[in-house]
Point group: C2
Chain length 303, copies 2
Amino acid sequence: MRSSAASAVAHGLCAFTLTPTTPADEIDERAIQTLVARAAAAGVDSLGVLGSTGSYPYLTRDQRLRVATTAVEHAQGLPVLVGVGAIATRMVLDHVEDAQQAGAAGVLLPVMQYQPLTETEAYGLFEQVDANLSVPLVVYDNPATTRFSFSDDLYARVAELPNVAAIKVPPLPRDRAAARRRVEHLRGLLPAGVAIGVSGDAAACAGLLGGADAWYSVIGGTLPERAVALARAAIGGDYREAMRRDAELAPLWGFFAENGGSLRVVAAIAEELGLVRSSSLPAPLRGLDEPARIKLRALLGLV
Amino acid sequence: MRSSAASAVAHGLCAFTLTPTTPADEIDERAIQTLVARAAAAGVDSLGVLGSTGSYPYLTRDQRLRVATTAVEHAQGLPVLVGVGAIATRMVLDHVEDAQQAGAAGVLLPVMQYQPLTETEAYGLFEQVDANLSVPLVVYDNPATTRFSFSDDLYARVAELPNVAAIKVPPLPRDRAAARRRVEHLRGLLPAGVAIGVSGDAAACAGLLGGADAWYSVIGGTLPERAVALARAAIGGDYREAMRRDAELAPLWGFFAENGGSLRVVAAIAEELGLVRSSSLPAPLRGLDEPARIKLRALLGLV
């Protein structure tokens, strides 16, 4: 039987924060404290660290432990979901141990790969991690970044593992009826009690209105008030208000798509808002160039 | 001016060895010694460790240092090229330091990525690493695995960096005239003294006959006599003998293509030959299944 503890990181708005780094690629703990405290104060339901926009693959084991510890300390009692992804199972298990020691309310596990994995190999990873867990597991499907795609059959098999609390699925269709059909289809595949979480902020409104349980949100970590307003309306079933909030954010969704995904864009937002020092990404990543920043400032109402 | 030391890892047959692991995902140092000594005894020109078939992304920093140290100790004086790839520049620089300390004759650097990198970001990685090197650098372009593709312009810019000794390019066309045209085109892009190395064993014969300087060979680490015979003939310009040797290996090239690339296949070959214990791949990777092994045994003349 699934524990009720699972729900804390499987329902509502989970705000994923950046992991800003210094020019020497040390983690900027003070900036992490700021981002975490700011999201918590805005009323998010939980926090997520060390997701893709938390730069987890660019950080050492020690850095990742410090990010998790800092987040738990400054989360004002909110549950913290900690990313434990790595290319080798052995490394994932080390990160699981560290996350649990840091006080994580759950762990988030993507299928990170170098050699393309078979579904059997991916299932084996989840099985081995699940057997070594004492907190809920959120399965992270993000094919645009990891290049690994789950089949529906793999969702169903992984979701049977005892600690799996939620599946974080790739962006649902932005069409509300299509999103609802996909959520209903997934609901039929998964055991009762395993939640469905949406990612891809541009599709969050349709996903939540379509019945998804959670929004694993990138803007939740950097523009938390806007994410909270959208999530509250959509989860509360206030279609009109949710769609109004989503429409306000549409230029930002377009900007994400034009600029190669969310990490570089949200890092630039945090830099422009003065929440982190500029050049906050770990090498070899570079931030947005100046023409893109000029457009971004306009979108944010900063000019 | 480029040092003559560069040539040691930029010409002839460089045999890449596996990094066999135990069921607990510890590295099997004794098996590494066996593989390295066997390739050296067969007459290869240099050794390569911690390439893609050396499982570098699945190993910790400490494990990688021990692989490099073990290889240098057992290489019977042959130069050893050590892979230093990682997702973060900071980690690459740590691996460079370790490789140099272990006695590497050169380092091999792929563009490993999680967030897709721009060419500017990739160039920045090579520039930063080059500035921290005291041994030659082999640039590793392997888009099938890393999903990063070099443009010709990026080859040319990276090759201008002072320590770059060679570019390891993706498989050339198997057609000899087409391979020669591509080698000549690359030769025109690169500064004099920067070598062209071929990878993709199935295309090695055409590449060497077409004028490439080096073969970075996967089978060189596991079936070294066959690789040496092919390389000697092709480098010596003995077309007939080279093509005969290549034709003998054609069923194996087909088997690589059918089985998702070279790592799982060469690991199975080493297992079948008793060079490493079976189940020699780090989790979550699994070896070939039994139907594939039955076919492989037949190809190897083991049944």
